[in-house]
Amino acid sequence: MQTSSRLVKWLISGPPLLFLLIFFVTPSLIMIFTSFRLPGEFGGLAPVKLLPGEVAGDSGLTIETYQFFFSDFIYIEIFLKSFAVATITTLICIAMAYPLALLIARSRKKFRNLMIMLVVLPFASNFLVRIYAWMIILGPESGLSHFINGILVFFGIAPVTLLFSPFAVLIGMVYVHLPFMILPLYTNLEKHDPILLDAAQDLGANSWQRFWYVTWPQSLPGIFSGSALVFIPALGMFAIPDILGGTGDIMIGNLIKDQFLGTRDWPFGSTLSIMLTLAVLGIAGLFSWFAKPAIRMT
């Protein structure tokens, strides 16, 4: 009995584990190895000579990409900037998703599925098409631009350009990632027992107190999982800054993409990716460390 249930466990968890092992661990190892190699003359990688008898120091392995990374503050600056953008995106997503998720969770059952479907509906069209649509909405000759600048000029403020700005990047980021915050929040909020709120009311809590002491602490797991789903993809995003961003809106994703497609510098691209992975792991670790007591409290 004991052994067969263990067998079943392995049978169930084995395939996905194997999948991750092959398609996550192996590429990561290749990437780590690549980061110590030299770029080839035509792109790709220079051959590695690990056989004995080669001239020392000419093995084709080097730590110069790491030296290069730390030799200049600009790379660290881009990391910090990307973290700032991803953090702001996550916070805006929380602020916008929470009321909506709460509304859906508290509405009548027959409307819930419809509303969830509406949240997911944008996924039916291609991601890039939706971003290009924002280009049209935010363009200098668009109705929105004319409307906003009309108001600004009326009050004597200089007109602004919406497209190709950090503002446009944030709009795109929030727009794309919002459903990833709404869905986990909704699944969390939906499970809350309404009796707890009634009890709080009976004990004399006003509506704000009911939210802050009953609903909010219970919803923290939803916020944490939603934040992870938003923060990590937002950090590596390169298409949105590319398309909607202005001249200064480079993020770490753009930099890594450039190393592989433009500069043909795979080793340095790998180094940047490793640094990003380490940073994300570090943040995830910190996050769960902070999150654990907060969740346990509930």
Partner: protein, 371 residues
């Protein structure tokens, strides 16, 4: 041509192209299914870089099938070949990528005896830096990196159109702030800056690079964005007034503005300091199965009547002298598509950098993007 589209754009393009290509092949099969299987000429080409009617005529003349795979970027083409893509009889790379292919030793020398039409090529486009004796390559078409502008706006604001100063000098830029884009390509933008500073586009001196960097950083606050593709639409609808861009893309934008009846016109010109020329050539890849058919195709494309169709379609430059009589007049009179001797002497083809230089340039580029 298009230097770096976002990879997701590329993937979706590739998918689209694959689907349409499959569609075409199936069509061909169904019409010729009762015959013996025809020979297939595999061409690895830029998207929309051969007029469909040209292919049809060649297929009719050779009793064969032309099958194309597409790339949107030289780097992508090189990467696919490096990853083992094979079976291509012909490839259409730009100069510096061709240089790489030659040095890798994966091209087959041309048999000039079976290419009598090579006499049609203007001597100015033969014997390039990359293949000095044309042992491997025949010029196919070219693109210039120039300045495109909204003629009405530029006239209204009294801006010059024949100098890179318009995208680098604050005195001009302040009039077009937020209405100008430059290419999102380190090599192209640095080339423009270096040319403006009086250096060669291919200058590899690091101090000159740093001067160019300073120039670019000073001008950057006035630019709306770095853009490789979206500027085509933006300038055509009037959102942009000046764009650093590719001649055939700007040709497309001018055509679009004209077709949609805008109240302005788009034009483009070669700056007096010089510009970058990207000459695409046809080369024979060693993995091809029909070198004889490939030669036949090259000779066919060297015929003016055939080579002209691409020019008339996308406004690309044409190195073929024999094509002149068939080119639409407004194209022939276009000083960018057909530069005069004097402008021609100021055009430069970009050469490849070694990996150390690429890394330094990449850092400069990162700094430009961040500041």
């Amino acid at each position: 041509m298009v230097d770096s589209l976002p990879i997701s754009v590329r993937l979706s393009l590739a998918l689209l192209i694959t689907i349409s290509a499959i569609g075409c092949v199936q069509q061909n099969n169904s019409t010729g299914s009762n015959k013996t299987p025809a020979r297939i000429l595999q061409v690895f080409n830029w998207n929309n870089y051969i007029a469909p009617e040209t292919i049809q005529r060649f297929e009719a003349s050779c009793d064969c099938q032309v099958k194309q795979d597409y790339f949107s970027d030289n780097e992508e083409m090189l990467a696919k070949l490096a990853a083992g893509a094979s079976g291509y009889d012909l490839i259409v790379p730009t100069g510096n990528a061709m240089d790489t292919l030659i040095r890798q030793g994966v091209l087959i020398p041309l048999d000039k005896a079976s290419l009598p039409n090579i006499k049609n090529i203007h001597p100015a486009y033969l014997k390039t830096l990359f293949d000095p004796t044309n042992q491997y390559s025949v010029p196919y078409a070219y693109t210039l990196t120039v300045l495109g502008f909204n003629t009405n706006k530029v006239r209204e604001l009294g801006l010059p159109t024949d100098t890179w100063a318009i995208i680098f000098e604050p005195e001009y830029l302040q009039k077009i702030k937020g209405r100008v884009t430059v290419l999102d390509s380190p090599r192209e933008l640095m080339a423009a800056a270096l040319l403006y500073l009086g250096y060669a586009a291919n200058d590899q001196d690091e101090t000159h690079w740093n001067q160019a960097k300073e120039l670019i950083i000073r001008a950057k606050p006035y630019w709306a964005a770095f853009s490789n593709t979206s500027y085509i639409r933006e300038i055509a609808i009037g959102d942009l007034w000046v764009a650093h861009g590719y001649s055939n893309d700007l040709f497309q934008a001018a055509l679009d503005a004209q077709k949609t009846g805008r109240h302005f016109a788009i034009d483009y010109a070669i700056p007096k300091q010089g510009a970058v020329m990207s000459l695409d050539s046809i080369v024979l890849h060693q993995s091809g199965k029909h070198p004889d058919l490939a030669h036949q195709f090259i000779n066919f494309m060297l015929d003016g009547k055939n080579s002209v169709e691409l020019t008339n379609l996308i406004g690309s430059g044409n190195p073929n002298m024999d094509a002149k009589p068939f080119i639409r007049l407004e194209l022939l009179q276009n000083k960018v598509i057909f530069p005069d001797e004097e402008s021609l002497s100021r055009l430069e083809m970009i050469t490849d950098l070694n990996h150390k230089q690429r890394r330094i340039l990449s850092r400069i580029w990162t700094e430009i993007k961040l500041r």
